[in-house]
């Protein structure tokens, strides 16, 4: 057997190529059918596509506060906790409680935070987030979120992928698949991180079983956000273009032989990379931003610097047509030393969050940009003391049964509170909003009917909201 023969029988792609009937061609035909396109090879999977109905929002900025911010200390004042402070919860609340490692008999921990009403709407926010409070009239605060997952990674998978299992496409990937990208020169789904990194990691912006071209592109959080934007020495832009033309032709030939859609993704990612070499430096250059803008975000220095830089980049990306921007800030998982740690997170995130909302608004972009802020779950009304020798070290545990998130902008009615929790913030008592309902609502704002945004895989149609989810009409403007 010579090397050619050996190669032919031993490679994965050759298998597709050589199979009787051509499995590869079948796979390709299926893809083309799903994409609603003819069998042309030179398809652009990122071309803009019409939504299902007229949208309010064109872009999304999802500010993901990883770890579970404490709703009791930020968004959902519970003076009722004072009465119970230091005592266990009433048995009526704990008898059916099944939470993996939370101790149901732990003492209740009242919040030392002071709340005050903001704006015309008078929504109350805590003294740790005065800047967010100042946006009250633009915010739809949902105090009645709940989720199925008790721990971080499953919670994040449910929030972004609609299922606690790994392997599903995530929200940004679904949106890009559904609507395509308005930006020719930047990726349609970009992820910017600050802090220590999320426990869900890449699975939070995965394309799952969708083609990998819909996956989130992660920019670096320190130093240059994008590396290797310059050509190697001696390579002019014309030469780089000629190289890419040759590369594209040869890759396309290989694609035609094998029908592997990942080759099509590769071709489009190289073409996008070439355009990013021009658009990237322009995006990252803040020199044309006014001193007032830089000041408002807190880009220059101090605790806000990293998150503020990401927020400002998010606005600049939305201006340039990036469909879905995900800002992850980690970690708000304050099991210990809650007061001090929560203050630190808020000192970093409060001002830039508010600056982004105000900046979008003053530029007329808030109407077409949906902003979402929150974590994968909330925190318990009960105390968690990991080190009994140090009572000042008190924190709160994971709480999936009741927590808060807020939304603003495209399609959302601001200045309102959705839902209510009980006196102790143990359970939701009014207008329960499941994670799937949130997802359905986000897609609705973008003009997508969540039950119709599907992808056929492993014998059935999959969607972001799995087999659940209802649009929350009260949230909509």
């Amino acid at each position: 057997m010579d090397r050619e023969q050996f190669r032919r029988i031993q490679t994965r792609r050759s298998f597709f190529q050589e199979c009787a009937g051509g499995v590869g061609i079948m796979a390709l035909a299926q893809l083309m059918e799903q994409e609603g396109r003819g069998a042309a090879l030179d398809v652009n999977p990122l071309a803009p596509k019409p939504p299902h109905f007229a949208p309010k929002a064109k872009n999304v900025i999802f500010m993901f506060m990883e770890g579970g911010p404490s709703q009791i200390d930020l968004f959902d004042p519970k003076p009722g906790l004072e009465k119970w402070s230091g005592k266990p919860l009433p048995p009526s609340m704990t008898k059916d409680l099944r939470l993996a490692f939370t101790k149901p008999n732990a003492a209740v921990l009242a919040s030392p935070r002071k709340f005050q009403p903001y704006g015309k709407s008078g929504i109350e926010f805590s003294d740790y987030i005065p800047h967010i409070g100042s946006c009250a009239d633009d915010l739809c605060l949902v105090r009645s979120m709940f989720t199925d997952a008790f721990n971080h990674h499953p919670g994040q998978l449910l929030l972004f992928g609609g299922s606690i299992q790994v392997g599903r496409p995530t929200m940004g990937a679904w949106v890009l698949y559904g609507l395509g990208s308005e930006s020719q020169n930047l990726p349609g789904f970009v992820v910017l991180g600050s802090g220590v990194g999320t426990s869900g990691g890449t699975s939070n912006w995965s394309s799952g079983f969708l083609p990998s071209t819909y996956r989130g592109v992660v920019l670096r959080s320190s130093g240059d956000p994008v590396l290797y934007l310059s050509n190697p020495p001696g390579v002019t832009r014309d030469m780089q273009r000629a190289e890419l033309d040759a590369l594209k032709d040869l890759n396309q030939e290989h694609y035609a032989e094998t029908g592997d859609v990942e080759i099509a993704s590769r071709i489009s990612s190289y073409e996008l990379a070439f355009r990013m070499q021009m658009a990237g430096p322009e995006l990252l250059d803040f020199s044309k931003e006014s001193p007032e803008t830089l000041e408002m975000y807190g880009v220059k220095d101090g605790p806000t610097k990293q998150f503020a830089t990401n927020c400002l980049l998010a606005r600049r990306m939305v201006e340039r047509g990036v469909r879905f921007v995900m800002l992850t800030d980690a970690s708000w998982d304050d099991h210990t030393d809650l007061n001090r740690k929560l203050k630190r997170h808020c000192d970093a995130a409060d001002q830039p969050t508010a600056a982004l909302i105000k900046d979008l608004k003053q530029r007329g972009l808030l109407d077409s940009t949906l902003v979402v802020w929150g974590g994968e779950f909330g925190r318990t009304p009960m105390v968690e003391i990991r080190d009994p020798r140090d009572e000042n070290n008190a924190g709160r545990d994971h709480h999936p049964l009741a927590y808060s998130m807020f939304l603003a902008g495209g399609g959302i009615r601001g200045g309102q509170v959705i839902g209510k929790t009980d006196e102790l913030c143990m359970n939701v008592v009014e207008d329960r909003v499941h994670v799937h309902d949130l997802q359905a609502t986000i897609l609705h704002c973008l003009g997508l009917e969540h039950t119709r945004l599907t992808y056929h895989h492993m014998g059935r149609d999959f969607r972001l909201t799995d087999v659940a989810g209802n649009v929350v009409g009260k949230m909509l403007g």
């Binding site: 994965r12 590396l227 190697p232 001696g234 040759a246 890759n251 590769r266």
Partner: protein, 130 residues
């Protein structure tokens, strides 16, 4: 981070499939990969005879373990001519691409082979385990 290598201290239940423009920028422009292209060009110049088709066959053999098809050879030939033309228009780029001298090989040819090597090293067939 760009290629999503999992943390080797933790179990990885699923390795994400990725294909981002950041990877393309890395493979095209990172000095390490550029030097690899220079190294491949040097090797092709040293280890194959002077004819273009011989060099191309050798370069394909080294990178992809096969010979180029007629159509591939034609496309690469066209690209080689195009690159020579570009280099002729801006001769100062030649030594930046290929700073060494090889006896009997015009430097501009070697520089053009750096560009051909960059194409080969960025082919999906080269990057992906087939």
């Amino acid at each position: 981070m760009t290629f999503d290598a999992p943390n080797s201290n933790l179990s990885c239940t699923r390795r994400e499939r990725t294909n981002t423009p950041l990877q393309a920028l890395n493979l095209m422009n990172d000095p390490v990969f550029f030097e690899a292209a220079q190294g491949l060009a040097y090797r092709v110049m040293q280890e194959s005879s002077g004819a273009f088709r011989d060099r191309l066959n050798y370069a394909y053999d080294v990178t992809l373990g096969r010979a180029p098809s007629a159509h591939e050879a034609e496309r690469m030939g066209k690209y080689f001519d195009e690159t020579l033309r570009h280099l002729g228009e801006s001769p100062q780029t030649v030594s930046a691409l290929f700073p060494n001298q090889i006896a009997g090989v015009p430097q501009i040819d070697a520089a053009a082979w750096v560009e051909l090597s960059r194409v080969l090293l960025n082919l999906d067939e080269f990057i992906t385990r087939e």
